[in-house]
């Protein structure tokens, strides 16, 4: 087997050195009747070519985003990632390293985590950021738990503009932990009355902007009301590129900012792996979940980096830990950091303007199609349209025509009476031809 270096001769010599007759003597603690007599009922080993063919066949049954006019968003976005990013994250020394427990030989990982934290803090306008979470949704769950620890309260108020999956994740976690959740009804227009939901029992208010329907929200009044009642504002985003153009959650006085970082550096990957961004005010550092990388010096006084504040973590604190998390999304962080470095402020802000411009063009084009109504007053690169027919059917028929038109709201919120609504996203990858194809196909279908 190509991955196994031992030869039969090696095995024989090693068993002799160990002093046992057969390898099964080393498995003697497994109850005899549970030790399998033969290989399990799965196919035997396969060469590279055969494996490639099997998986390529599966791959070819999917429609890839780059192969069609593509407007699907709702929490994951198709962007162009420079070739440099994927090349660098595949460097053996990055790819095949472990969590940097031995900092002296993991400065590569640690320095990029430090750079990542700095970038995330800058983007979100916050004082500190951690070394990433699994994704935006689990990060949001962790943010709510963190707010509970900070406020010593146990009730979260969730905006109706929060991504429904995120709501479900928070609800599941909270129910399991017997914490209270007040989730507002789906808020298509971004005009919900969330302020009235905040009182002295509120631990945190969770608001997404741009929200799942695309509306750009003003967080300042919510922060103000929350703070007045001793609650925290958790600001959420699912499209990190928007931060290139929109005022940061930090500047609107959010206490914790959490979001999905997939758009920068990372592929769609059918939903994972992604990278959760997590930032907060520095006074809450010791209640933060996840890994933190900090600066220090070595025995010679040279600057270096280490994982730090691990007394928050499970391997030290066990059942008293701030979270059970013991990894981050290291390689996805790296991809994020490299892509962000390539962009720089000049590139990111321009990328954001292009995304917004393309979305505006698309909204204008769709607004002229009969049977399509653009609902948003404000948006960044995604907005909601109301169709003359159920969106799920329309999307399916457009897919048959080779256009992936967006996400039917009913896919996220079945039974909510929003069946004719469609979320449409547009990024820098969309061309005039793409837009024209969508418009033409819609006209045929509606």
């Amino acid at each position: 087997m190509r991955y196994l270096p031992l030869s039969e001769t090696d095995r024989g010599e090693m068993l002799a050195r160990i002093g046992v007759k057969s390898v099964d003597d080393l498995f003697a603690d497994i109850p005899k009747d549970k030790l399998l007599k033969a290989p399990v009922d799965l196919p035997r080993r396969k060469g590279e070519l055969e494996v490639e063919r099997i998986l390529s066949r599966m791959s070819s049954k999917n429609v890839s985003a780059s192969s069609v006019p593509f407007f699907v968003g709702a929490g994951a976005y198709k962007h162009h990632v420079p070739a440099t990013v994927d090349h660098l994250i595949q460097r053996s020394e990055f790819l095949t390293s472990y969590t940097p427990y031995q900092p002296e030989i993991a400065q590569g990982t640690l320095q990029y985590l430090f750079e990542f934290q700095t970038q995330v803090a800058a983007l979100t306008g916050m004082e500190v950021a951690n070394a990433s979470m699994y994704d935006g949704s689990t990060g949001t769950g962790e943010a709510v738990l963190m707010a509970h620890r900070v406020t010593k309260r146990r009730k979260a108020v969730l905006s109706g503009g929060l991504h429904p999956h995120y709501i479900d994740v928070v609800k599941t976690l909270s129910e399991m932990a017997s914490d209270e959740v007040k989730a507002l009804a789906a808020d298509v227009s971004g005009t919900e009355d969330i302020l009235s939901q905040i009182d002295d029992s509120t631990s945190c208010v969770v608001v997404q902007s741009p929200d799942v329907f695309g509306n750009v929200r003003d967080l300042k009044p919510i922060a103000e009301k929350a703070h007045k009642h001793g609650a925290l504002l958790i600001a959420v985003f699912t499209e990190v590129v928007s931060l290139g153009l929109l005022s940061s959650p930090g500047s609107q006085d959010a206490d914790i900012v959490v979001g999905e970082g997939q758009s920068i550096g990372n592929a769609l990957n059918f939903g994972g792996p992604y990278v959760g961004l997590f930032a907060a005010k520095s006074k809450y550092i010791r209640q933060m979940p996840g890994r933190l990388c900090g600066e220090t010096v070595d025995a010679d006084g040279t600057r270096g980096f280490v994982l730090t504040l691990s007394t928050r973590e499970q391997h030290i604190r066990r059942d008293k830990a701030t979270s059970n998390i013991c990894t981050n999304s290291g390689l996805c962080c790296l991809a994020f950091t490299i892509h962000m470095t390539l962009l720089g402020e000049a590139g990111l802000t321009r990328l954001a303007r292009i995304n917004h411009a393309n979305a505006v063009k698309l909204a204008d084009a769709l607004g002229n199609v009969k049977g399509v109504e653009v609902l948003n007053k404000t948006f960044f690169n995604e907005f909601t349209v109301k169709l003359a027919k159920p969106a799920a059917e329309v999307v399916e028929r457009l897919a048959e025509k080779g256009v992936l038109a967006g996400v039917p709201v009913s896919r996220l919120l079945p039974g909510a009476g929003l069946d004719n609504l469609l979320l449409v996203a547009s990024t820098e990858v969309n061309t005039d031809e793409d837009r024209a194809a969508l418009v033409a196909a819609l006209k045929e279908v509606l």
């Binding site: 991955y3 095995r11 050195r17 390898v23 498995f27 603690d29 497994i30 399998l36 799965l42 080993r45 494996v51 490639e52 599966m58 791959s59 070819s60 049954k61 429609v63 985003a65 699907v72 994951a76 198709k78 660098l88 460097r91 053996s92 095949t96 969590t99 900092p103 002296e104 990982t109 320095q111 430090f114 950021a129 070394a131 990433s132 699994y134 689990t138 991504h163 999956h165 995120y166 479900d168 599941t172 976690l173 399991m176 153009l245 929109l246 792996p273 010096v297 730090t308 391997h315 013991c326 981050n328 996805c332 790296l334 962000m340 470095t341 390539l342 962009l343 402020e345 917004h356 079945p414």
Partner: protein, 493 residues
């Protein structure tokens, strides 16, 4: 070798991408435009390349040397798997595309599920968990849901966890409101069914048992423990961190587990990537299967379907633990690993992993001390620091000295029940000659320590990108991001 931070070499007006400014248009941001600068310097592409290549050169990986980090399973990462993960129909597919356009993705998930269930002898699996600890959470949530479904939610709230367990076990249980009770450690390294029975009662929801355990030993009484739990109306959560030792040798389902997460990155070699991403699918017994969270794949009338909402399931999903469908990028790598190895290769891999660990044990047992006596281990061998007594060398010092010999240190000070623990896991990826060199290097270090050559250890590492780093200083006044030096900050004003 000191590489500056990108903030020290980057410039706000530099970019490594070429984008054309859009034609003028009317923004629809509702006046929420950013007014302030972000503070994100950029680098051109050549500078970016060099910066990150240089950073990488300060890292150690499996590709550069033996990486015997016990319990972490640093095995070979095949590049075939990387290539497969980048197929356009895998990497460039959106989680919310119409189901008709992702049939291959669902087939892949379904096939992965079949492999995992077959290898573990179980009837269900949730692919959602994003990492091992997330898998634990998912499994314990399923247990909690099952208990609540039986109306015992109020009364069964204790989870038994051996003292030797990973910290994630108690942390996970506590996270969702369980009370953790430790099962005391024994001097043979095993969990005894008698000890467990003493703690059992109507308040006990589950045990979280790692098997093979964190001492590198298979729990011989695992079947009895499972039976005791079930007899008491409780569940058996198995921490699958060490499943790689027994893949193809025994099925956890046959041993009586109710839930077990599988670290795809450990067992099936998806790259650790400097600390993630991983993936932690959790297999479930028939008793827990109905409570698996959404989403999951099932066969439907028009091909494979994805059940994304609780109301669409005939079962009783306990909810959702992440947006979308889990770590597809890891699924494809793990499946490529399993297809490549096949049933015969996976069995052989387990055997070689165990053989390699025992070969190291045999090569070091005369010099190093073992907390539970010199008996066969599974895929990792555990030493303590008794043998270092009076040498002035600690486990930490010894580990740092290994760096100077060109090796990544083993896992240290874990499990907590063993003093100065050194947990060595070579994995099946190492050749005999590599192990011989490793054993020789460790023996040489051991002799050196016993001869009193303390400086070789206390000052180590000498030959690494950095000398020993001051972790206390980092924690005392945390510096978690770069801040422009004062003069620069002034100049910028």
């Amino acid at each position: 070798q000191v590489e500056p931070l990108l903030f020290e070499i980057g410039r706000a007006d530099t970019t490594g991408v070429d984008l054309d400014e859009p034609a003028s248009f009317t923004p629809r941001l509702g006046g929420q435009e950013r007014k302030d600068a972000i503070g994100l310097p950029g680098l051109s592409e050549p500078e970016t390349m060099r910066h990150y290549v240089r950073l990488s050169q300060m890292n150690y990986g499996i590709d550069t040397g033996l990486f015997p980090l016990g319990s972490c399973t640093m095995k070979h990462n095949a590049r075939l798997n990387e290539r497969m993960a980048r197929l356009p129909g895998i990497s460039d597919v959106h989680p919310l595309q119409p189901i008709s356009t992702v049939q291959g993705a669902l087939e892949l998930m379904s096939e992965l599920a079949r492999y995992l269930m077959t290898l573990t002898g179980t009837k269900a699996v949730s692919l959602s968990p994003k990492a091992g600890a997330h898998g634990e959470l998912c499994g314990m949530m399923a247990i909690k849901a099952a208990i609540e479904a039986k109306g015992e939610g109020k009364t069964r709230n204790v989870v038994l966890v051996p003292e030797s367990a990973h910290g994630t076990n108690p942390a996970t249980a506590a996270l969702i409101g369980f009370v953790v009770k430790p099962v005391p450690a024994r001097d043979d390294g095993w969990v005894h069914v008698d000890d467990v029975k003493k703690l059992l009662g109507p308040d006990v929801a589950a045990i979280m048992l790692t098997n093979p355990n964190t001492c590198g030993l298979f729990e011989p009484q695992v079947v009895e423990i499972a039976k005791a739990m079930h007899d008491a109306g409780a569940y058996f959560y198995c921490d699958g961190a060490n499943f790689n030792a027994i893949v193809g040798k025994a099925k956890p389902g046959d041993l009586g587990i109710d839930a077990m997460h599988i670290n795809l990155h450990k067992t099936f070699s998806t790259p650790h990537g400097g600390g993630g991403p991983g993936a932690g699918p959790v297999v479930l017994s028939e008793r827990l299967a109905p409570f698996a969270p959404v989403p999951f794949v099932r066969a439907g009338k028009n091909g494979l379907e994805l059940v994304e909402h609780e109301q669409d399931a005939p079962e009783k999903p306990f909810g959702r633990i992440t947006a979308f469908h889990g770590q597809m990028g890891m699924y494809v790598r793990a499946l490529a690993y399993m297809l490549s190895h096949g049933s015969d290769g996976m069995k052989q891999a387990s055997e070689d992993a165990v053989l390699n660990a025992n070969y190291i044990r045999a090569g070091l047992s005369d010099l190093f001390s073992q907390p539970f006596g010199d008996k066969p281990c599974m895929h990792e061998v555990l030493f303590d620091d008794t043998w270092l007594k009076d040498t002035g060398v600690t486990t930490l010092d010894f580990a740092k000295a290994m760096i100077d010999e060109g090796y990544h240190p083993m896992t240290m000070y874990f499990p907590l029940v063993v003093h100065g623990a050194m947990l060595i896991e070579p994995t099946e990826s190492e050749s005999k000659s590599a192990l011989d060199l490793f054993i020789a290097a460790l023996r040489d270090l051991a002799m050196s320590a016993k001869k009193g050559e303390t400086e070789r250890f206390t000052g180590a590492p000498y030959h690494a990108p950095r000398r020993r780093l001051d972790e206390t200083r980092a924690a005392r006044s945390p510096v978690l991001k770069w801040t422009p030096p004062a003069p620069m900050a002034e100049a910028a004003e």
